[in-house]
Amino acid sequence: MAIRLRNAALLLFLFAGLLSNPPDLSSCGPFLPTAAFSFWTVPEDAQGRFARGQLGIVQPGFPRFYLIIAYRYLAGIGLNAEEQSALFAREVYQTPEAQQPEAIDQWKKARARVAGSAAQPDISLFKSISGDGYYINYLNCGDNAFHNAAKTLEGRIGHFGLQSPVVKQWVAAQDRVFANCSGGPSIPAPLEGTADPLARTDREYQIAAAHFYAGDHDVAEQMFRAIAEDKGSPWSATAPYLAVRCVVRKATLSVKGQGFDRDQLSAAEAQLQKILNDPGRSAVHPAARRLLDYIRARLNPGERMHSLAQALLQKNAQATIQQSSLDYRFLYDQLENGNFGGFKALQGDDELTSWIQAFQAHDAGSAKKAAGMWRAKGSLPWLVAAFSMTHGEDSAGSELIAAAQKVGHDSPAYATVAFHAIRLMEESNRRAEARAALDKLLASDGALMPGSALNLFRAERMKAAADWEEFLNYSVRVPAGTAIAFTQYTGDARPEMEEPDAPQRKPRPGFDVDAAKILNEQTPVELWLNAAQRQTLPQPMRREVATAGWVRSILLGDEKTARSLAPTVQNLAPELKPSLEAYLDAGDARARTFAAVFVMLRNPGMRPYVQVGFGRETPVNKIDDFRDNWWCSFAPDKDGSLPGYYRNASIIGEPLRELYQDGAPKAQFLAKDEQERGKREWSQLATVAAAPDYLAAQTIDWAKSNPSDPRAAEALHLAVRATRYGCSEQKTPYSKQAFDLLHKQYPDSEWARKTKYWY
């Protein structure tokens, strides 16, 4: 009975084990660094060459921050050194939480000088208001509040002395003021009439400020107006401006998240205009102007957008360009999202906005508009926009290609115009002309180009390749940078989110998707042998082609090519040399196949395709932690997509898609029979099982018929391992079969001991 119960428990345990059998790798994560051959969402060297006007190929995927810069250069306005510094100054990118430490630190340092003050209370800058049906958070205490407090404290220490009780009382009151930033209300008490007049006026100001931060805007406004009337108060000059801020806060916060109160904002606008007309209040004029801009952006967004667009096209705008760019992009986002009346609120003919709209829309209507604008104005920005959206079949093509001849090498539009002009030549079957133009361009300008543009020209030249040698030559690209292939869902694109955020890899040449797709899906394996043996490709790429070509020829059953490739693999990948000796020395075809399988089992990095970019970075003989091991099935699933890592590396994305709108590069340089063989082999590869199944099936078969082979036990162990770490789309019996055979046939071997589970 005890034995039966034990068996029952064992059965239950095994059943539970079956339930927990791990399936294949999810497509979710990891978010690995990928080679960025050509940038699409941010210009290469944005703060350097791009900011200086070496624009490379301007892409519609660039954020508007960069398109404004591009437009200025294309329109002949450019950016002087100060404007460049202003645009890229850190403040542009700082988020409120990043500002917190610096501003508060300054206040804390000033405060720490006053001995005997209570411990520094925590300060949070944001205030939350929520009620039935609305949730609002806002930055309540900005940088200036802390800078101003620190400056005032220094002044009072200078006036009253560091040890003065007046200063200590001032600090205690200021702590209460800042407590309202996120909490409150915490209002300091007024000072007696006998107090020092400066201390008394300071306290009145602190009380008004405390009410302001606490959200008592009516009370605060009245107090600031009273302070403004008190000519003896050092705060009388700034108080009217602060009273207007109270009105603006009321206008934006009293409506419970429903936009703003137009009447109150209009009143604030009139009050600010009055301040700006008063020369006696010049100290607050800069702040008043900024607040007025804020108000006008809301009251009359179309007009404000128009004036910002004009401001952004002024020369020597270093004093205003950063704020203009920020405000313009804010308004653009709002109008684009249909807020503030949407784009129909725009007033007048705004060249910059029209250009950005057309360039980013990138559709047929915009193409027509851009071509029309270019014909009417003959300007570079519109030539670039027209080019970027026109295709070979469009009537404007020839006209644009002719116009490109007039764009000089020193023009900021040169690379963009040249790239698209050549693209149009190719699309309209002027391939020889395209080749000649590219050869001339790459010879004269290639060395000076940003890597991103150079790679696109090389891609264009590869597309126009006349023969196999040219294809190989222009398939070689060096990544322009490293990026994370993952877009976080945190909302709208901002420049700071688009910077490649990954440890930069040492640049080394590799294949981009266009070249890899042609090799993997259209090239017969005999040409892989040729590519591996000729010197056109650099050594790491030859190694890639040779190793993958050898695996491929094994899977295709092309023994002749596999045997020819093996010595080349040995030369290019010395660590595989001993394993491949066994393959070459095997006595017959079946033994050779098993020897090849054994090499693959020991080397999870072996697969029958060349990889894109950095590819698999784990050493070939190590298991990759993210299950990028061997290969998955190449059989497309029901909607035509491929499983596993190969799928992600086989999709033509932007900006290569500009060259291949159908996403399908074609090996037109190959002879017809070569194309057919390539296609046939790719179809044949789709019939080969995923690596774990293929390798395990071959191993089981060999071990059964050759039980005395000393490699058999290890091979069975490795086959079980492959089913754990490899890619299998379906449940197959191979893992258990290999496990059972290993334990039955070699029960005392170290490999049986190491193999405790099947998968």
């Binding site: 039966r4 068996n7 029952a8 059965l11 239950l12 059943f15 791990p22 399936p23 999810s26 497509s27 979710c28 994560g29 988020t95 409120p96 939480e97 917190q100 949070s124 944001f126 939350s128 929520s130 009620g131 039935d132 049906g133 609305y134 949730y135 609002i136 958070n137 806002y138 930055l139 419970k256 998240g257 429903q258 999202n337 249909g338 807020n339 993952f486 877009t487 976080q488 869902y489 945190t490 909302g491 709208d492 699933d637 909607d639 997509s641 799928r647 992600n648 999709i651």
Partner: protein, 240 residues
């Protein structure tokens, strides 16, 4: 005797395998609208039809330094709507010393008016799981028993990397979007028990094989419009 044992085992397995699909959030509608960091005016939502899970704040942890960025965009909803505060956590080498500050930051979101549940959105890496586990365990201890604690989950956590199985959470919402170039297929592999009651989708990534019978959280990459929300709800209802 052998037959009896087999019957016994089969009955035991069946009993173990049978898990009635109880809704862990019975107070909440079957459709939840994610309101992310965008101005959202959702006062047209019928409270009987959908609830709102809104990004209330983002907590960033770097080592022991904790930064809190509250929601900076207004959110307007109809009174009486089922509201869930979402706190997104982003981290880089989070240290145990940061845990209490993170927990306080998350807890503060539950103080917002009308919030009836808390959801944490944290794509914790393997090395960050102990930290996250500790945060969840602490939060569950101090949250009122009536306050559901939901977490978002990478699909892999629900498929095979079942590190979340012992966590004291009400539900884990597998996010079946932003996962690669192709639509997600594999809802049948979401076998982790905590992941059984809900699913997260996005309006710009239609599901190839929508899982049925679950609460659906819907993400939208822009501010919601009435029409977009209506269309999304209708689509989800079609296969829910």
């Amino acid at each position: 005797m052998r037959i009896a044992v087999i019957v016994l085992i089969a009955t035991a397995i069946a009993a173990l395998a049978y898990r009635p699909q109880r809704d862990p959030l019975p107070e909440f509608p079957r459709i939840m609208i994610w309101a992310w960091e965008r101005p959202e005016k959702l006062d047209f939502i019928d409270p009987r039809e959908a609830g709102v899970a809104f990004l209330a704040r983002t907590v960033t942890v770097r080592g022991e330094i904790v930064n809190i960025r509250p929601r900076m965009q207004p959110l307007v909803v109809a009174p009486g709507l089922a509201m869930m505060a979402v706190v997104r956590v982003e981290s880089q080498d989070p240290q145990p010393g940061a845990r209490i500050a993170v927990e306080h930051a998350i807890l503060d979101a539950t103080e917002l008016h009308g919030v009836r549940a808390l959801q944490i959105d944290y794509d914790a890496k393997a090395s960050e799981r102990d930290f996250y586990r500790g945060v969840i365990q602490d939060l569950r201890r101090v949250l009122p028993a009536s306050m559901p604690l939901s977490i978002t989950a990478l699909a892999s956590w629900c498929e095979y990397d079942d590190w979340i199985s012992g966590l004291p959470v009400t539900e884990a919402v597998p996010m079946l979007f932003r996962m690669g170039a192709e639509p997600y297929r594999g809802a049948e592999r979401l076998r982790e028990r905590k992941c059984q009651s809900s699913v997260g989708i996005s309006t710009d990534e239609p599901l190839a094989e929508p899982p049925r019978g679950r609460r659906v959280y819907i993400f939208h990459p822009r501010s919601w419009s009435r029409e977009e929300l209506r269309a999304a709800i209708q689509e989800v209802r079609r296969w829910q």
